[in-house]
Structures are given as C-alpha cells and as structure tokens.
Symmetry: C3
Subunit: 356 residues, 3 copies
C-alpha cells in the first residue's frame, strides 16, 4: 500500500520543518525508533522516549528543536513532531486503490455512483444515496432512505438502519450499528414495558471515524447528532438523542446515556459513563472509567475512578467505605469534645501548624 519512496527534501518541501542531514535520503515507511531501518522515518514527540534516540537506526527522525542535537541520523525539526508524523504517515500510506463497481453478489435497490465500490454480499435498501467514491465493504447492510457522503469508507459487516444520514469521509469499522432503536419504554403499573417507537434518526457530520462494534442509536422523536470531526474508538454506546460536539474524541467502551449532550473538543477516557440528560461543556476531559452523574459547566479535567491496589489492602480499606458517614460523625464528635477542654483551647491557640 505504501508509495514507492519519498526523499527527505520532498517531504520538507510539502510538509515544512527544518531538515538537518542528507536531503536526498529515500524514505519508504514510518516505524518506531527501535525498529526503523535506514529507509524508514521515525519520530520523537514524548521526551520520555528521548533515550531511544541515540540507538536508532532510522533513516531520519522527526523531532523538536531541543532534541535535534542528540540525533545520530538525519532529522526534520518540527514544533509538532507527532502531527508532522501523522501527515507524513498518511502520505506514505494512501488508501488502497478503489475498485469501482458493484460485486455481483450484492443486492442493491438504489442507484450507485460509477466510482463507488460495493463489496460482496452487501445489501442496500431503496431510496438510499451513496456518495461518490465511497467504499462499502463485504457484508454491510444499509437500510432504505440513507444518505452517505462522498469518500466514505465502510469496512465489512457494518449495519446502518433506514433513514440515517452520514457525512463525507466517514470511516466506519466492522460491526458498527448505526440507527438501532433507542431504549425507550413506558412502564405499566404491573411492571411490564410498552415500547415507544423510535422515530428520530441519526445525523452524523463530516470526517467522523467510528470504531469496531460501536453502536449509535436513533433518536426517539428528534435525531441523535454527531458533529463534524468526532472520533469514536471501539465498543462505544451512544444512546438516543445524544449530541456529541465537533472534534470530540471518545476512547473504547465509553457509554453515553440518552439525551446527554457533550460539548466540542471533549475527550472521554476508556470505559467512562455519562448519565442521561446531562450537559457537558466544551473542552472537558473525562478520565478513564469515570462516572459522570452531574452536568459539567466548566472546561477542565474530571475524574472519579478508584485505582487498583493489592487485594488484601483493598479489603482492609474498602470495608470503611460503607462507614464513611459514621467516621465523619466521629471526627465531628471528637472535635466538639476537644473544643470543650480548656487545655485544648489553649493548645489550639498556640497551634501554628493548623490548617484553616
């Protein structure tokens, strides 16, 4: 898949940065500092890995100014080495050549652009619009009335329910389900559930990537909305009528309950859960495995998970979690008792170390 080769001077001519070393060196691929060979380029973005620089056999390294002096091979100096690396890696690894056409085993009830590629066993319902140069992998099922933007890439076995709309350049991985019914039921007095038809849709903007086996439910009445540039990792669950702001990125196994609204440029760590109907501001970072139970109005980082400890220590410590309220009472009582002692009052008046 990689392009033939790029010379270092070609690279800086297009992507910028300051080249130090042999301008004519050919680069065929990207690789780690440890594994890169003479025709590969690596990068150093995290100072933590600085000590791997000295031993690298890479043809060149993309790095910040401060590391240039320590680099034993050619280098490209950049303010943002990781971003530079991402752009170069894309250049060196263009998408596989598109093979336009509809596989004979596909069953298609809508017109397909000549330059789109429809894989084996795909089913596409009626009144659906597939964007130019889109690729639909084998086994995908796309319902009727769907709109899929240009240059979209659906890997194998993706399912899109009727009426969903997805923007340009979407990348959707295998096992993703978009537009299944939201979880909406009214309860009868004796406890059984009456289904509320989910008549909203799913509206996904441009440049959205969706990881394997992620599910995005359709809205109950209005739409579930994913704005431009959002990136989803694998196995994320998005409930009905959720709205995810532009350029937010969610790590694996995150769950967002119905009608929650996440701002733009948010990040959510793996396994975090956001309860329903909450509103999360722009530029909020939620740590991994954190449960968000209240709306968040200020940008910043929020955490709540309990880190692991050795099991016997955990047994000792966590037993007290059930008694925090009485521990707090006992501290209060001790403070009250001590406050009534004349000597204690005197001692306290001399206590320079005491916190307020």
């Amino acid at each position: 898949m990689a392009v033939a080769a790029l010379r270092l001077d070609e690279i800086v001519a297009r992507l910028g940065g300051r080249l130090i070393g042999d301008a004519g060196r050919s680069i065929r691929q990207v690789a780690t500092l440890e594994r890169a060979g003479p025709d590969e380029i690596s990068f150093l973005a995290n100072p933590k890995y600085h000590d791997k620089l000295a031993g690298t056999r890479a043809g060149a390294v993309i790095l910040p100014e401060a590391s240039a002096g320590a680099c034993p091979v050619a280098c490209i100096v950049s303010d943002e080495p990781y971003l530079y690396f991402a752009r170069l890696a894309q250049w060196l690894n263009p998408p596989e050549a598109l093979r336009p056409g509809v596989h004979p085993s596909a069953s298609v009830e809508s017109p397909i652009p000549d330059d789109a590629s429809i894989g084996a066993g795909v089913h596409i319902g009626p009144a659906t619009r597939i964007g130019a140069r889109s690729r639909i992998g084998p086994g995908c099922v796309i319902g009727g009335g769907v709109i899929l933007g240009e240059n979209a890439l659906l890997h194998a076995n993706v399912t899109i329910y009727a009426g969903c709309r997805i923007g340009a350049r979407a990348i959707i991985h295998s096992g993703v389900v978009i537009g299944a019914d939201g979880f909406g039921f009214a309860r009868e007095r004796h406890g059984s559930w009456v289904k509320i038809p989910q008549i909203g849709g799913v509206l996904i903007g441009d440049d959205v990537e969706i990881g394997a086996n992620t599910t995005i439910d359709r809205g109950a009445l209005d739409d579930t909305v994913i704005e431009n540039g959002v990136k989803f990792d694998n196995q994320i669950q998005i409930g009905h009528n959720v709205r995810i702001g532009a350029d937010s990125a969610l790590a694996g196994c995150v769950g967002i309950a119905g009608s929650a609204r996440l701002g733009s440029r948010c990040t959510v760590g793996g396994g975090a859960v956001i309860l329903g109907h909450l509103v999360i501001a722009d530029d909020v970072n939620i740590s991994a495995a954190t449960l968000v139970t209240k709306s968040i109005t200020e940008a910043g980082t929020y955490s709540g998970a309990v880190p692991a400890q050795e099991h016997a220590a955990w047994l000792r410590n966590f037993a007290h979690l059930r008694h925090l309220d009485s521990m707090a009472d006992r501290i209060r009582t001790l403070e009250a008792q001590l406050a009534r002692l004349p000597e204690a009052q005197q001692a306290r008046s001399n206590d320079g170390e005491k916190k307020p």
Copy 2:
C-alpha cells in the same frame, strides 16, 4: 410509515382519557413539546418540563390533570401520560408492511412460512422453525435446530447459534449474538486452559427486545434463560446459565456474569456489573456503573459508583482511599485517648449535640 391521521376523538375512543378542546383535530405524528406542529401531539409527563407547555405549538398535548389548566392547546388528560403517549405512538407508527418471501440470495435449509420475510444473504440451518409473520433482516445467520416465535423481528446481521429458542414478538437488533459458548475452562496445573464444551442452550421468552451488539451466551450444562417481557439495551453481556426474571430492563453496557439470577421487574443502570452465581431478588434497582458483589435479598435500590469530581480535588481525595483503614484506626485511637481524659468525660456528659 405513519398512519394517515387520527382525530382526537378517535384517539380517546380507543385509548381513553379526557379530551379538552377540538375533538375533530387531526393528528399525524408524535413530537416533543418544542418541535410539535399543529398536526402533531406531544406529552408532558415530567413536571420538570412544565414550563415548556406554554410555548408549545402542538395540535394537542397528553398530560396529567394538574397541568390541564396551563395547556394553551387541546389536551388529553391521563393519569399516566407517558404510557398513553407510548400507546398512541405505536398506533401512529405501525411496523413497516411485511414483504413475505425469501430473498433469492438467502440460503435456507429449513421450511419457511409463506407469510415470513427472509432478507438478502440470510443463512438458516436445518431443522429450524421460523414463526409465522417473522421478519429476518439481511445478513442474519440462524443455526440449525433453532425455534423462533411468531411475529419476531430480527434486524440485519443478527447471529443465532444452533438450538436456541426465542419466543413470540421478539425484537432483536443488529449485531446481537445469541448462543455463543459460555466462558468455561478448567485450568491445568501449569496454567493452560481446557475448554468445557457448552452444551446448554438459550431459552428466551415472549416479548423480549434485545439491543444492538448485545451477547447472550448459551449454558454450560443447563440453559441460559431470559423470561417474558425482558428488555435489553445495547452492548449487554449475559454469561452462561444466567437467568433474568420477567419484565426486567437492563440499560446499555451491563455485564451479568455466569449463573447469576436476576429477579422479575428489576432494572439495571448502564455499565453496572453483577458478579457470577449471585441471586438478586425481584423488584431490585441497580444504579448505573454499580458493581454488585453479593446477593441481594430485599427489593430496593442499590448503588456503589463514585461520582466524578474536578481532577485536582479527585487527586487529593482519592489518595486517602488507600489509607482508610489507618484513618479508621486513628479515629479509634483518638476516641480512646479522649475517653481517658477526666475533663473529656465531663464535657461529653454535657454534650447535647452528640449523635448516639
């Protein structure tokens, strides 16, 4: 998909409630208070949204007696407005007309009722019984010896392993896997695992809905059992030999480990985990993201999750979780020391505020 239109007097004639306003008004669809237009009906169930009533442009609103006076448009008064809304929404949004027949690309090794619908690329194994008027979406794979009830709806790309039995009116969303092997292994002394064949089945009652990408494992020896009326959201994991009682509802990303038994009419919040072999009583509600480590014998609500806080505060507070045991010791020591002070004893005897 919606029916042509319903007059308000037709609606109350069938579903009950007290109509206030223009009996002849036509309703075509349900919508939110904010978005409903003159031919749409909305509802007010949660008093929190009462202030949206005044501005609604809906043709009518379903609401409780107490809100009727404040409604600017026609209304239907009901003791259970949300339930009323659910029933009306179903009436207005009947299932798509069934197109009976077997798609030519399907590969079917069992007889199919004339009034069932089998989608493109479906595979059905031998000795399987598909219920009348069932719909099997494109890409579904149903193993041999399966029994599927009447009026079942399998959306695209569902997988059902051999021998599973599923009741009438099931709704199964895309990506669901029913009947995969439970996680059962015996460990050899040196640490490797010997697979225990999973020869139990899965038995699912009537009126069960299963959300996208949920997995329900087959039993090891006996069956995994899902009773009538259970509702599963997306990405739920049900281990082997679990039993879920009738009319229980589980939100997204819940995990129930092997051989756990959940009672009837339970609710489980998103991301909660129930450990193996536990027994949970009827009418138990488990909060989101809660870990259940012991059986629960009494109906009620149970919680255990840690809510998020601002990251710096979390760092300060959660460091102490590792030291709760020593904090408890120190409180005990302080109490013992204070109890030995004659003045403290005197002070305590006068302490009207002290909690018992």
Copy 3:
C-alpha cells in the same frame, strides 16, 4: 453431537482416576448433580455443593477422594475433578462433523484447502491462506493476506481485516472484529484530529479462543500480539499494540488500552480496565470492575472496585468521598491538639490497646 456412549471402565482407562462402582455402566452425557440421570455423569469440584451429592440420580460422579464416601452412586476419584470433567465432556461432545467444501454463495479470492469448510455468504480476499480442516461460518469476511492456522473454527459473522495472522485451533465467536484500526490521532492546535494510519498487524498464537463481539485492533506501527493459549470472553476491547501473555484469561467486557502489556497466566475479571502503556507482570489476577492505573510488577491479586450498598446508605457514605482530604486534615489536627494535652500524653503512655 454426543458420541454414542462410554463405559466407566473405558473412561478411566483413557483419562485415569480410580473407579468405585459398576465399571460397565454406560455414560452418554455430562450434566449437573441436580439434573443428571442414570446415563449421565456429573462432577463435584467445589465443596460448597457437597450437599447436592446425596440426592443425585447421576450414573456416576467425578469427585475428590474426600467426597467418595458420601457418594450414593458410582464415582471416579480424581485429584482434579473439574479438569477431569472438562476432558470427559470434550470426549463426549466432539465437534460437529466437518462438511468440507465452499458454499456456492461464498466469494473467495484465495485457494481453499479441500478439507476446509467455507459457509454461505463468506468473503475471503486475495493472497489469504486458510489452514487445513478450518471451518469458516456463514457471513464471515476475511481480508486479503490473512494467515489462518489449521483446525480453526470461525463462527458466523466474524470479520478479520487484511494481513492478520491467527494460529492453529483458534475458536472465534460471532461478531468478533480482528484488525480494525487502532485509535490513533494527532491533534491540531484548533482541536481537530489527524488520523495516523495503522500499519501494524495482529498476531494471534495457537489455541486462542475469542468470545462474541470482542474487538482486537491492529497495531499502529508494530503488531498487536496475543500469545498462545489466551482465552477471551465476550465484548473485550484490545487496543493497538497491546501484548497479552500466554495462557492469560480475560472475562467479559474487559478493556485493555493501547500498548499495555499483560504477562502470562494472568486473569482479568469482568469489566476491568487496564490503562495504556502499563506493564503487568506474569501471574497477576485483576478483580472484576477494577481500574488499573499503574504498572504491576509483582504476581498477586489486585482490586479496586467499590461494592454496591443500599442506596440511602450509599448517599450518606459517598458524599464523604469528596471530603476525604479534609477528613484526613481534621484527624491530623485532632492528633496534634491531643498530643499537646499533658493528660493525653499521660493517658497514651498507659494505653496498651493502641496500635502502632
């Protein structure tokens, strides 16, 4: 599927153990102590179930020496009854007979061994090698350049991306996705994300089982590696460049973030999360729903989850989690004040109960 029948003397001749009772009794299947009939064999491994032994109607029971005296029927005495049971259950339940051949609806671009079985609607890309006697279930999609070992079993609707390598005797359940892109993006200053092409692969050893809807991402530059004998339950998420050591077993819904390394013979409980780039030693057991935030260098068991309690108690207790830091301060202050009291110093010197 079960073999015709085995006599007890045949069983001990092959699997060992000491037979007590009728050597000629025929056994057709395994079953639980409660449900087994006269032609079925059960086992007793956990002393917790000892009281079920007296009432069993099983034809025979596999059990430890200590329980032999209490067994009302024939028994096989074994040091490891559960392991013995696993091996016998495998013998009694051999895999279904393989039906070699390629289903006419499959679309296959690589040579297939004569003794392999390719199901309906399967798609296999070019330059892929399918091992002898492998079974590929209906609806599977296998990309180009894949290597799949001998005697592999892929259930229906599995997706394997291009270039992944999987060892012999793999068992892969429905909905599994192997080789989707890892979650790798560089961030631009204004907050949008640039995709980093994921050019590594996935390398899976021999004798690996993978549960339904589990996802294993391909590496960014190097490979994601799953060593021999690893067992994955359902809905597990394995990030890019993770390495899982031999014979480790992960329960359902576990998430392992990118570049984490898990040792050999580890076990991870359901819903646990391991953060990225951590290194976990061999023989580590992580409890269910535990978040691992730091590398673990010593074998042992590690926990961190908060067990559920009754909701009102939880409300009282967990409110204090936000104030642990101030509680700790207040204890420290009390200690300082008390230490300055002459009487307290005296009392403490007499305090035999005080912990160090």
